[in-house]
Amino acid sequence: MSRASCEDVRDALLAGRPAEPELVEHAEECAQCAELFESEAALGRSLATAGSEGALDAALWGELDRELGEETGARAWLRSRPTRLRTALGLGGVLFVAALGLHHLRPNWGALSTPVLGAWLFAFIGAAALALRGALPVLGAAHPQKRALLAAAFGLPLLYGVGAALSFGGAPFVANPFFTSALSCFLYGTLLSLPLVALVWSLDCGVGSRARVFAGAAACGLAANAALLLHCPATDPAHLLAGHGAIGFFLAFVAWLCMR
């Protein structure tokens, strides 16, 4: 077994050194390094010419240093917190907005059984945590799971909405002039989501992936939906779709506009 590695072979070629016996021995055991040494190491030497090109422009550090100097203020502080803390802060924001719904609980709330309420709460926290986890990634994490993020952003809120509609579907409708208007619910819900939008924006470290931004927007919309669900006694599917569900899509649309 040769003591040399693939990296030793590369470094020797980059430095233009002749192939030492232990490198040749390594190439005999290593399929890819063998290719580099074929035909008088033609490929290896050719790759070495590409690897040796270019030098760093000294002005680049100056530009970066200036940008680092501008990293001050509340937002810079928030977005440089560890990811676990940022996710916990975001989830706290989601729960806070959802808890606002408790302030004026819907009159037909009693129609919910404890298991249904528990399942609803579990689904809400799970979906919000997933969406936030996507929106506030660990920087440098390999291969962002785009499909999982989009599922969290759109699939889970949808499931949550269907579940809520099924849970409350049998409850008697209670007339409420303010909340029966879908537009009122939409505006009120959007307003409720604004503190959370501000929080997620502050915590975002600027990776800027569309899936992540959509996930963040969905988390905000989900929180607003939860708050509305606790407030609004309406059980009409059209109202729930136009007044409640549309908030998440509206926020995602605004996020898309901002990303363009």
Binding site: E7, A41, T49, L60, E71, S80, S209
Partner: protein
């Protein structure tokens, strides 16, 4: 990095000087403008600064930095909504035949021409290994694959490069490149 997290501001410049040249080479290969490559390098280090409190001293820094940079590059191309261009893409359909005196450029152009013609996953591994000077374990970590898979990709890429360039032409360009390397 640990020193920077602990408050040594000068340590970040040392990190930058150590890793930025290779990172710029990797970025530059697929971008038409040098300015774009510089901007991505700058963004990668800015993200590294922002994520400094997430850094685990037991982790290796280089794969982490390259993962950030590769994510930024993917996002850059996604925003442009078109296939990455190489600096030589205007000459993509022909092998250049530069006069003597431009031999080193010719060697690089030939290689760039061939690299454009191998599958992107194989190209990525070869570029990270040769331009970024990452070891196979480091580059495997950066792109989220096993070391064995990275080596298989490199092997297939090398075989394809030799097929595309031909051993005779490779020998000639490598020879001329070596003669012109200081």
């Amino acid at each position: 990095m640990a020193a920077y997290v602990a408050g040594d501001k000068g340590a970040f410049r040392t990190l930058f000087e150590r890793h930025a040249p290779a990172l710029e080479r990797v970025m530059q290969r697929e971008l038409a403008e040098r300015e774009e490559a510089r901007d991505l390098v700058q963004q990668a280090f800015l993200q590294l600064h922002r994520a400094r409190l997430d850094f685990d001293p037991k982790q290796r820094l280089k794969p982490w930095l390259y993962t950030i940079a590769l994510n930024l590059k993917r996002e850059h191309f996604r925003k442009r909504r078109r296939r990455p261009e190489s600096p030589d893409s205007d000459q993509a359909d022909r092998q250049p035949t530069a006069p003597r005196g431009q031999e080193q450029t010719e060697a690089r152009r030939s290689l760039a021409w061939a690299l454009e013609r191998i599958p992107a996953d194989q190209r990525e591994v070869i570029e990270l290994h040769w331009l970024g000077e990452l070891s196979f374990p480091e580059l495997a970590e950066s792109i989220g694959i096993s070391v064995a898979a990275a080596k298989v990709r490199a092997h297939r890429g090398y075989v394809r490069l030799r097929e595309l360039l031909g051993d005779g032409a490779l020998r000639a360009t490598a020879q001329r490149g070596a003669e012109n390397t200081p």
